[in-house]
Structures are given as structure tokens and as C-alpha cells.
Symmetry: C2
Subunit: 131 residues, 2 copies
């Protein structure tokens, strides 16, 4: 298992990219819209881990509600695993509540699945399969 | 620059360790008290990145106030840099407000320095020097 990326909720993707890219010493990344999640995202790589900047395309979205209630900031922690379904099943065996019972396709076309934040005491955890 | 660790605020370090260690497939880490920050911490390694579980030893501490206002969860993002002082100076040149103007000794005896969360739109960023 590895840390794949760290999701950061931002109100304005262009402004956030202009803030983070120079601080990390990286170029401007492409922007991807994930319609199913109502977000626009950009991944910035730093030493093998990515920061995923997430801008909601609607206030009626998980990230939009997060921004409304908590403001911008750290949103979720994603681990790379060989099998998202196996990782979700293991979480369920540990008694953790799931958001996704099986993998679905997320950003970058990768298979992903989320554990409810109650499962990790307030940390929203995502499992993601390698490309 | 690399992601060194990710700080997670927890109300009970033993309980949080018992939750995270099996999920990451790692053993129980040692506990360190950082008196200057009024926290007890434990580092769990996952693929070269660490999760730093932080339990306040007093409600009158940065992590205690964070738990009180936001509840447990993702707290800060730490980058390994060659020089904390250089990284803080670069942040200041980018117009970011600093918490520390120069490096001080933090957990694991490492030199650390923090940028104010306003500098990264709600994300508390730490710079830490290698061991």
C-alpha cells in the first residue's frame, strides 16, 4: 500500500493551481472534469505523491458541501492498492462503514472506492487502483 | 521536495493507532511526547510517507483547539525540504503568512517550520528537514 494522493478542496481551481504549482516547483497540470462527482480536478505531483485539487462544479456535490461547511482545505487521503474491492471488503470486515461497496471509475479513469469518514475517525479514505 | 508526512488530529492516540495500524498493515509505533507543542504523536509508515497521529496533551494547544472546533481528521501536510529556513523564506517571498519565521525542533528531533493555513487556502503546511 502507498499514499497515492491527497485531495484538497478549493473554491477556484485556477487560483489554487497558481498557488500550489510554484510552491511545489511543478508546471501547470491539465484539468479534468469528473461529471459523476461534480468536480473539476488537477493533479500536481510531488515526489511520487499527488495533490488532487478539487473544485466543485455545483454547490450540490460532496466537495461543494464540504466547502460550505468546513471551508477549503485537506479533504481526503487516497491509498494505492492492488484491488479496490478487496480493500473495501477488508474495511468492512474491520467494521468500517463504506461509501462505496464496490469500485467505480473516478478521476484519471482509475477504479476507486471510498470508506466513510466515520471509519477512520474523521478522515475520508479513498482506495485507488494503479493505472 | 517530497511529501514527508500527513498529520491527523485524534482525540485518543492508542485508539487511533489501533484503528490505523491494521488498516495500513504495519505494527504499533512508538509514542513520542512533543512538550513544546503539547501533543503526543505516533508515526505510521506507508510506502515512504508517514501518517503522524497527533493527540493533544492539553485542550489549550493548537491540536486541542483544532479538535474542539473541527473535530478529528486531517490536520496538516508536511513536505521534506533540504532547508526549512530557505523554504520559509521562499513562502514569505510568495506573500504567504508564516507561523514560524525560522526552523525550530519538532517531533523526531527534526527541524520544522509552519506556514499559516491562509497561505495555502486552508491547508496547514509544514516544512521538515531530513534526519
Amino acid at each position: 500500500m502507498n499514499v497515492d494522493h491527497l485531495g484538497i478542496a478549493v473554491p477556484d481551481l485556477a487560483r489554487a493551481t497558481a498557488l500550489w504549482a510554484p510552491a511545489l516547483g511543478v508546471g501547470t497540470p491539465p484539468v479534468e472534469e469528473v461529471a459523476s462527482q461534480k468536480v473539476r480536478v488537477a493533479f500536481l505531483e510531488v515526489g511520487g505523491v499527488h495533490l488532487e485539487l478539487l473544485e466543485p462544479t455545483s454547490p450540490d456535490s460532496a466537495v461543494g458541501r464540504f466547502l460550505e461547511s468546513r471551508g477549503p482545505g485537506l479533504h481526503h487521503l487516497a491509498f494505492a492498492v492492488p484491488s479496490v474491492n478487496d480493500a473495501l471488503a477488508a474495511a468492512e470486515r474491520r467494521g468500517q462503514r463504506l461509501i462505496d461497496r464496490t469500485a467505480r471509475v473516478g478521476a484519471r479513469g482509475r477504479r476507486v472506492g471510498f470508506v466513510h469518514p466515520s471509519g477512520f475517525e474523521g478522515v475520508l479514505v479513498e482506495y485507488v487502483e494503479g493505472p
